[in-house]
C-alpha cells in the first residue's frame, strides 16, 4: 500500500495564526512560529501555510523565520503575485506553491511556476461550495463564483501543468462536521493527479478511514490539528503518532 500523507493547514492573517469557519469569522490562535515548532517536533508529513488575506503582502522575512524552523515540505499559497514573488519564496526554503485565484485570473502564472519549480511542486487549490446538488467552484477566498464546472477546473489545472490538487470543501471548513468522503472519492476518479482532501475533518479516526478506503493521496485539516476539541475554545497543536512500521 502507498503511504499517504496527513497535512496540517495553517491559516495566517498578517503574522497571526487564525482559524476560520466556512472561510469566515477568523479566530486568533496565536503565534504561528510556536505551532510550526510543535509540528516540526511531531514530524508531520508536510505543512500547508495559507495567507488568507490573499493579497500577497505577507513579509518574506517573516515567512523565512517560520520556514527555517521546519524540516518538512512546505506548501504556501495566498496571493502569489508573480514569478519573482515565487522565486523569493523559493529562496527562503518554500518548495511547493498553491494557486487558486490565478487559475481564473492569471493562468499563465501557474504554467510559469510549473516550468520553474516543476509540476510536482505546483498545486491547485480547488475551493468548492456544495449547494444542494450543485457544486460550485469559488475563488479569491471563496468570494467569487468561477462559473466553471469542477471537472473543467481540474482539466484546466492539468493543462497548466499543476501536479497536485487540494480539494477544499468550503461548506464544511472549520466545522468538525466530518468530511464529504463520497465526493472526495468521486473527484479523485476524475484525475490521475494526487488529490488532497480538505474541509470538515472531525477526528483522527475519520482521516484514517478516508485514507484507507479511497484512492486519495493525502488528507489535510486545519481545526482538527489546532484545537483540543470541536468546541474550538482551547487551542492544542496536535498530530497523531504514526506507525512507521
Amino acid at each position: 500500500m502507498i503511504e499517504k500523507r496527513l497535512i496540517p493547514v495553517l491559516s495566517l492573517i498578517n503574522e497571526d495564526l487564525v482559524k476560520t469557519i466556512r472561510f469566515s469569522d477568523p479566530k486568533y490562535l496565536g503565534d504561528p512560529i510556536n505551532a510550526i515548532r510543535i509540528f516540526n517536533e511531531k514530524e508531520v508529513d508536510e505543512l500547508v501555510i495559507l495567507d488568507i488575506r490573499n493579497d500577497g503582502s505577507l513579509d518574506v522575512k517573516f515567512l523565512e523565520s517560520l520556514v527555517s524552523e521546519a524540516f518538512m515540505p512546505i506548501a504556501y499559497g495566498g496571493g502569489l503575485r508573480n514569478i519573482d514573488h515565487i522565486r523569493s519564496l523559493m529562496s527562503i526554503g518554500i518548495e511547493k506553491f498553491i494557486f487558486n485565484t490565478a487559475l481564473h485570473e492569471n493562468p499563465s502564472l501557474i504554467s510559469e511556476c510549473a516550468r520553474l519549480v516543476g509540476s510536482s511542486s505546483t498545486v491547485y487549490s480547488l475551493d468548492f461550495e456544495n449547494d444542494y446538488k450543485h457544486l460550485r467552484v469559488r475563488y479569491d477566498h471563496a468570494s467569487k463564483n468561477a462559473g466553471t464546472p469542477l471537472n473543467e477546473a481540474i482539466k484546466k489545472a492539468e493543462e497548466l501543468g499543476v501536479g497536485e490538487i487540494i480539494l477544499h470543501d468550503i461548506n464544511r471548513e472549520g466545522t468538525f462536521k466530518g468530511m464529504n468522503h463520497k465526493l472526495f472519492e468521486e473527484v479523485q476518479t476524475l484525475t490521475k493527479l494526487p488529490v488532497i482532501a480538505l474541509g470538515g475533518a472531525s477526528s483522527y479516526e475519520e482521516l484514517e478511514e478516508l485514507l484507507k478506503n479511497s484512492a486519495l493521496s493525502a488528507v489535510a485539516a486545519g481545526s482538527l490539528f489546532c484545537f483540543k476539541n470541536k468546541n474550538r475554545d482551547s487551542i492544542l497543536i496536535n498530530y497523531p503518532k504514526k506507525n512507521y512500521g
Binding site: 502507498i2 503511504e3 508529513d45 520556514v67 524540516f71 515540505p73 516543476g118 493521496s217
Partner: protein, 201 residues
C-alpha cells in the same frame, strides 16, 4: 566546509537550514570556479532535467563540477534533480546530463499500476541494499519524495532502493559521488542523520 551549488533556483535554503541545524559548516556558492575550495559539494535541484542542465551550462558550473568530481578527496552529493543529472540522460528531456555515473532516468508514466498517482509525492521507505556511508546505521529509512522520473533498480551505482508501483534506485554511490532521489533536507530525523553523515565523510 560544504558548498551548496546555487544557480538561483531550487531548495538551497532548505538544505542550508538543515545543515545549520546539524551543526555542519555550509554556505551557498554561486561562482563556479570557487567550488574547489570546498571539501564537499551539494548539488540540489528541482524542476525540469533540461532546464537544470541549461542553468549549469550557462552559469559555467557544468565544467567545474565535472572537474571537481575527479578529485577523489572531495565528495559530491546530488539531491533530487541534482541526483538525476549525475547520470547520462532522462526521458524528461533531450539534453545530456553530467554523465558522472552510467545510467538514464525513466518516467513513472505508463510504468506503474493505474492506482499509483504520478508524480510520486510523499514519504516512502528507502531500503539499503549495500553498505552505505551515508546511512550506516539503518537498513530502512523514511524519506520525502517528489519526482516523476526514476532510475532503474539494477543501476550499477545503486545503494538504496524504494518501491512505488515499481522498484527503483533511490540512493546511489559511485566512488566519491553520491546521489539521493528524495529530499533529506525535508525528511526530519532520517534526513538529519544522512546530512550529518555526509558532512563527516
Amino acid at each position: 566546509m560544504i558548498g551548496i551549488v546555487d544557480v538561483g533556483v531550487g531548495n538551497v535554503a532548505s538544505v542550508r537550514n538543515m545543515l545549520y541545524r546539524v551543526r555542519a559548516k555550509a554556505e551557498l556558492v554561486s561562482e563556479p570556479n570557487r567550488i574547489h575550495q570546498y571539501s564537499k559539494l551539494i548539488l540540489p535541484g528541482v524542476g525540469h532535467f533540461d532546464a537544470g542542465m541549461e542553468r549549469l551550462e550557462t552559469s559555467g558550473f557544468k565544467a567545474e563540477i565535472i572537474e571537481y568530481s575527479k578529485n577523489q578527496d572531495k565528495h559530491l552529493l546530488g539531491i533530487c534533480l541534482g541526483m538525476q543529472i549525475l547520470f547520462e540522460s532522462s526521458e524528461e528531456g533531450s539534453k545530456n546530463g553530467l554523465a558522472l555515473i552510467p545510467g538514464s532516468l525513466k518516467s513513472f508514466e505508463g510504468r506503474v499500476p493505474e492506482d499509483y498517482p504520478v508524480p510520486n509525492i510523499g514519504w516512502r521507505k528507502v531500503r539499503a541494499i549495500k553498505p552505505n556511508p551515508l546511512l550506516p546505521e539503518f537498513t530502512e529509512g523514511r524519506f520525502y519524495f517528489v519526482h516523476t522520473y526514476f532510475l532503474d533498480a539494477d543501476n550499477s551505482a545503486a545503494i538504496g532502493q524504494t518501491e512505488y508501483g515499481v522498484k527503483f534506485t533511490s540512493m546511489v554511490a559511485h566512488n566519491n559521488i553520491f546521489g539521493v532521489q528524495f529530499h533529506p533536507e525535508k525528511s526530519h530525523r532520517y534526513g538529519k542523520e544522512l546530512l550529518t553523515n555526509f558532512s563527516r565523510l
